[in-house]
Every structure is written in structure tokens, then in C-alpha cells.
Amino acid sequence: MGTLQKYYKQSATYKIFSGMLTEFASFLDTLGKITINGVEVFKLIIKGEIEKNEVLYQCYRFGITSLPITLSIVGMTSVIVASQVALEMVKQGGGNFVGLLMTILIVRELGVIMSGFAIISMIGSSIASEIATMRVTEQIDAIEVLKVNPIRYLFVPRVVAGMLMMPPVVIIASAVGVITGAITSNLISGLSYKAFFDSAWLGIYMKDLFVCLLKSICFGGTIALISSSCGYFAKGGAKGVGEATNKAVVWSFVAIVIWDMFFAIAFFF
């Protein structure tokens, strides 16, 4: 029996399935830790346990330092989409609807999701590596020994800043996206700005703006929470910091796509 077990453990089938199970266990472990931290963060926010100066610094980080990259990404995405659809629509006689299509796309989806991706790659990764470095250099242990709540000190300001700053970033990025869409459409198909903006307002309702803002609040909080958690549970040295950053980026990307799908089903199905 012992020999059979030994050969079985060396088989490819065993290795594949045990590898999959280990990955699944690790996934559940990470999900559980993020959820527990999330609950703790929101309890502290409700209690008003918020360090205002730290929130202001994190707001600057989320809102100001990320703006150039966010605007560039949303602006360039808008150029790409407008260059694909504007000429075709004008040719097919649908020129009057280019502005409508572009605005709906940007306000409902592109503005918020591309801003989310930009924030993850720029701010989320930086939060994860910062907190992971604090973990591996025992700075978080020092916080705990000094009897300071690390969730209050590290997580709460970042999550609050994410929720506060993501909406204005998305609004500015979406405005830039619509304007670059109009300019691109004009340059590619000769569509007038008046024709673009006349139709741009037709498809946008208060509900779209409300969903866009709600989504951006959820995205901002989620990115900050996941990035902080992945950094907080880092292990080992430089390799651990790298793995935590990688995990934060991947998990944040997947999480905001899931949020987006949830919003699409909840509000537009």
C-alpha cells in the first residue's frame, strides 16, 4: 500500500490535481483575508476612526499623482474607439449618432474601467509594495507591538481616499474622453463638433451618471482594500514584495471586472 501511494504521489495526475487544490486553497485564503480586513475597515469608518491628515495625503496620491496617466489612457482609448467607428458611421449615414455612441460608451464603461486599470497599475501596485515592504522589514510588527491598530493606520486612509478620489478622477477622465472622441471624429470623418455634441447629450440620463459615480466609489475602495491586504500578508523578502504586488494587481483587475459585470446586470439588464 505504501509503495502504491508513493508511485501515485509521483504521477502527473496527482501533481496536477494537488497543484489545482493548492491554488484553490490559496485563492480562498486570500479572499477570506481580504473580506475580514474589509469588514474591519468599514467598522472603523462607521465609528469615525479616520486619520484625517493621512487621508489627505492618500487623496493627493490617488487623485493628483494618478491623473496624468489616467487621462492619457482614457483619452487614447477614446481616440482608438472614435477612429474605428466615426468614419464607418458617417459613411453609413449615422453621423448624427457618433456623439451619442461615444458618450454612452465613455460614461457607462470606458471612462470608469480604464481609469480603474490606470489606478491599479499606478496606485494599487505602489500601495501593495509599500505595505509589503513594511511587513518584511518588521515595521508592521512594530506598529502592533506599539499597540496601534494597523488596519486603522494603514488601511482606512487608503480605502477612504480611494472612495473619495476615484469619482472626480473618473469625471475628469470621462470629460477628456468625450472631448478627444469629438476631436478624433472631426479629424477622421469631418463630423462637425456641433453634430457630435448635439447627439452626445441624447443618450445620457441621470441614472448613467449615478451608476458611473457609484461604480467609481466601489472601484476606488476595492482597489485600495485589495492592494493593502495583499501587501499586509506578504511573506519573505524582496520576492515576497514582488509576489504581493503581482497578486494585488491581478486581484484588483479581476475584482473591478466582476464589479462592472455586477453593475451592468443590476442596472442595464
Binding site: A142, V145, L146, V148, R152
Partner: protein, 241 residues
């Protein structure tokens, strides 16, 4: 009594790192814990200050704070020296509103003076030498007037003169605070200059307990091997690791 450890057991995976260890440290006393790397010395400190949970046993500490000086100082690199030392006073729930900014400034200056680093409040940890960082971490540790101070290899990686300076501060802090202190170290000078008692760990158990002077007399096979840094003896490091 300030720190009492009873029948402590801690296992990582299948390895029992701490195997039924008991000891006491009184107020105003310094206990040195020595042993090979990986023998569980730092684990004992982390268990005492609650950074990791114990499997079984009991840790009894008298009322008051436990402070810890970390091996690599663990200063917050985004904060300057003053903010590092004042961290607990500003962020800890029970101390947050207790002191005004002026009082905090005075406490920081007083603690910095105690560790011989007057006037470096605005410097950042990256601007300080290893020895200075250690002394700032001493100042940060004693800011809450702790009853017990734990030192994790306080002199490792320092030159002999800086080590002597740090050892002097460990003795001075003990006198000033009357705290119970535990020093985890490999260095003989740190053991002889700071400790009242020594325990040596091997295989998760205490294999020697006595005074630093007795340790140097080499009556015990384990301490003899440790003091002479011999490869021959009851402790087999290669096999352990």
C-alpha cells in the same frame, strides 16, 4: 515578577521550535537568551509580545506595556525621527488625546537625550547609521514607559564600539525604567555586559541556565561549545538546519 513564561510550546509546520520552556524575569533584571540561529530565540520574544500565537503554555506579564527593539530597528522609513518616537503617543487609542503637541515634542526630546541623540528630530531613518537607528528604536520603544523591554539581537551587524555603546544604553535603560528586560543575542560582549542571567536554547529546550560568569567557566558542554565556537560538541548546527 514582570515576565513569567510557563511550559511554552510553539510548532511551525512539523517542527517544534519551542518545546516546553519555562522561565521568569524580575523587574530590573536582564535575561539573555542565547543559542544557534533558528533555535527559537526570536520566536520567544514574538510570543511574549503577542506577534504570534502560542500553541500551549502560559505567558504572564505584570500590568503595563511590553516594548520591543527589533533586530533591524524597524523604524518607519516614511516618518522622521520625531514622528517615529511619537508614533504611539499620536496613534494609540488610549494615548491619542492624552498629550498636546507641545508635550509630545518635549517627550521626544527627553527620550532622544536619554539615548544620546539630542537634536536629530527632523532626520529620516535613511540618514542615520545602523547604531543611531538602533538608539532611535530604543527611544521609540520606551516612549510609553514600558514595564518590560525585549531586545532582538540589538548589537548584531554593529562595529565593536557601536556595540559597546548600545550595551551601555541597555544597562542605562534598565536602571532608568526598572523594566524586566530580555536580550536575544549571539554576542559574548552583550551577554557579559548586559545580562544578570543567561539561558541557552537547543532543540527547542533550555540546555543551560545560569549567570554569565558561570557560562564562561565552561562547566556545561553546550556553553563550552558556544563560548569556544567549536564545531565539536553536543550542538550540531548543520544537522539542525
Amino acid at each position: 515578577m514582570s515576565i513569567e513564561v510557563k511550559n511554552l510550546i510553539k510548532t511551525f509546520g512539523e517542527k517544534r521550535v519551542i518545546d516546553d520552556i519555562s522561565f521568569k524575569v524580575e523587574n530590573g533584571e536582564t535575561l539573555a537568551i542565547v543559542g544557534f540561529s533558528g533555535s527559537g530565540k526570536s520566536t520567544i520574544l514574538k510570543l511574549i509580545c503577542g506577534l504570534i500565537p502560542l500553541d500551549s503554555g502560559e505567558i504572564i506579564t505584570s500590568k503595563g506595556d511590553i516594548a520591543m527593539v527589533f533586530q533591524y530597528s524597524a523604524l518607519f522609513d516614511s516618518l522622521n525621527v520625531a514622528d517615529n518616537i511619537a508614533f504611539a503617543l499620536r496613534e494609540r487609542k488610549d494615548l491619542r488625546n492624552k498629550y498636546s503637541e507641545k508635550q509630545i515634542k518635549n517627550i521626544v526630546a527627553e527620550k532622544l537625550e536619554l539615548v544620546g541623540l539630542k537634536g536629530i528630530e527632523n532626520k529620516f531613518p535613511s540618514e542615520l547609521s545602523g547604531g543611531m537607528q538602533k538608539r532611535v528604536s530604543f527611544a521609540r520603544a520606551i516612549v510609553t514607559e514600558p514595564n518590560s523591554i525585549l531586545y532582538d539581537e540589538p548589537t548584531s551587524g554593529l562595529d565593536p564600539i557601536s556595540s559597546t555603546l548600545i550595551e551601555d544604553y541597555i544597562v542605562r535603560l534598565k536602571k532608568e525604567t526598572n523594566a524586566a528586560s530580555i536580550v536575544v543575542t549571539h554576542q559574548m560582549s552583550t551577554i557579559t555586559r548586559t545580562a544578570n542571567r543567561v539561558i541557552m536554547l537547543y532543540g527547542g529546550k533550555i540546555v543551560y541556565e545560569g549567570t554569565p560568569d558561570d557560562m564562561l567557566k565552561q562547566n556545561n558542554e553546550y556553553t563550552k561549545q558556544f563560548v569556544t565556537a567549536s564545531l565539536d560538541g553536543p550542538m550540531q548546527m548543520i544537522a539542525e538546519n
